[in-house]
C-alpha cells in the first residue's frame, strides 16, 4: 500500500526525507527549524498555497538558502518563490503548487511544532497535538505520518 499520492506520472505529493543525507537531516532539525521556522512573523493563505513573512535579516537569508536547497530535494512538488523587496523590507517565501499541494502544506505545518505559537494561531493552524521536532527521528516520524495522512485524505477508500 503506497503512502504516495500521484498527481500524474511526473508528480507525487509526498515528501522524501531520504533525498537528504543524514548530515542534512540533522542540520535541518538542529538549525533550520529553531532558527528559521521560529522566526516566521506571519503565515498567509494564498489561493494555491501559503506565504511566510520573514525578518529582513542576513542570517535569515542564509538559512532560507539552506532550507530551500533541502526542501527542493525533499519536497520537489512545491514551487518555492523567495521575494526580497527593495529597501530592506521583510522577505516573503511563497510555497505554491497544483491542486492538493496547499492542503498538504497545511497538514505539514500542523504536523510539528515548527512555528511561534502566536503566528500559527493567527494563521488558523492547529498545533494542539503537534510534537516538538527535536530530533531527526521525530522529524522522520512526523513526515511519514504526514504522507500517510495526506494520502488517506485524498483516497480514503484506497488506503483503508
Amino acid at each position: 500500500m503506497s503512502s504516495e499520492t500521484m498527481l500524474d506520472s511526473d508528480s507525487v505529493i509526498a515528501c522524501e526525507p531520504s533525498a537528504l543525507t543524514a548530515e542534512q537531516q540533522a542540520h535541518w532539525v538542529k538549525e533550520i527549524v529553531p532558527k528559521l521556522y521560529k522566526t516566521v512573523q506571519e503565515i498567509q493563505e494564498l489561493p494555491d498555497g501559503w506565504a511566510w513573512r520573514l525578518p529582513s535579516d542576513p542570517e535569515v537569508l542564509m538559512l532560507v538558502a539552506e532550507d530551500l536547497n533541502m526542501e527542493r530535494l525533499c519536497c520537489p512538488f512545491v514551487r518555492y518563490t523567495l521575494e526580497i523587496p527593495p529597501n530592506r523590507g521583510p522577505f516573503w517565501l511563497r510555497m505554491t503548487g497544483v491542486e492538493g499541494v496547499k492542503q498538504f502544506l497545511r497538514m505539514s505545518f500542523e504536523s510539528g511544532n515548527y512555528f511561534d505559537a502566536h503566528v500559527a494561531k493567527a494563521a488558523g493552524l492547529n498545533l494542539a497535538a503537534s510534537p516538538d521536532i527535536d530530533s531527526v527521528q521525530t522529524a522522520l516520524e512526523a513526515t511519514s505520518k504526514l504522507n500517510e495522512r495526506y494520502a488517506q485524505s485524498v483516497h480514503p477508500k484506497d488506503n483503508a
Binding site: 537569508l61 538558502a65 527542493r72 514551487r79 518555492y80 526580497i84 527593495p86
Partner: protein, 136 residues
C-alpha cells in the same frame, strides 16, 4: 534615509558599491561574474517590470545567488530580487520602469557583451547620478 535617496520622493537608480563592506567587495564581484556567466545563465526573459535569468539548478549556485543578493541589496536597494525554484531556477530582478531600464542597460547588455561593469564604473555612475540628483 538610504544612500540612494536624496529626499522622500527621489530614488537614485544607480548602484552604490561603497555600500558594500570593503572586505566583501572582491567576493561580491567574483560572485556576480560567476552568476551572470554564460555557464550559469541558461536563458533570459523580459518581464513587465524587469528581467528574469534562468540559472542552472545547483545547490552551490543557489547559495552563491543568496550571498550575492545579501550584498547587492545594500548596493542597489531599489531592486526587488525574486528566486523561483521548481523544475527550473529563475532569478528575477524587478522594480519601477526606471529600474527595469537600468537593469536592461547595465546588466542585460553587459551579459550579452560578456563584460559586467566594474566596481569603479558603477561608482562613477553612482557619483554622476547622485550629483545630478543633488542639483535638481
Amino acid at each position: 534615509m538610504s544612500d540612494n535617496q536624496n529626499n522622500a520622493s527621489e530614488t537614485i537608480i544607480a548602484c552604490n558599491p561603497n555600500a558594500i563592506a570593503l572586505d566583501r567587495r572582491d567576493d561580491h564581484e567574483a560572485a556576480a561574474k560567476e552568476i551572470f556567466s554564460p555557464a550559469s545563465v541558461l536563458g533570459i526573459k523580459e518581464l513587465s517590470n524587469g528581467y528574469g535569468f534562468r540559472l542552472a539548478m545547483d545547490s552551490r549556485l543557489l547559495h552563491k545567488v543568496i550571498d550575492f543578493i545579501d550584498n547587492e541589496r545594500l548596493c542597489c536597494p531599489f531592486y526587488t530580487f525574486t528566486l523561483v525554484i521548481d523544475e527550473q531556477f529563475w532569478f528575477e530582478l524587478t522594480g519601477t520602469p526606471e529600474v527595469k531600464a537600468y537593469i536592461g542597460a547595465e546588466l542585460v547588455t553587459a551579459l550579452k557583451s560578456g563584460e559586467l561593469p566594474t566596481f569603479e564604473a558603477l561608482q562613477d555612475a553612482y557619483t554622476a547620478a547622485s550629483g545630478s540628483a543633488n542639483h535638481q
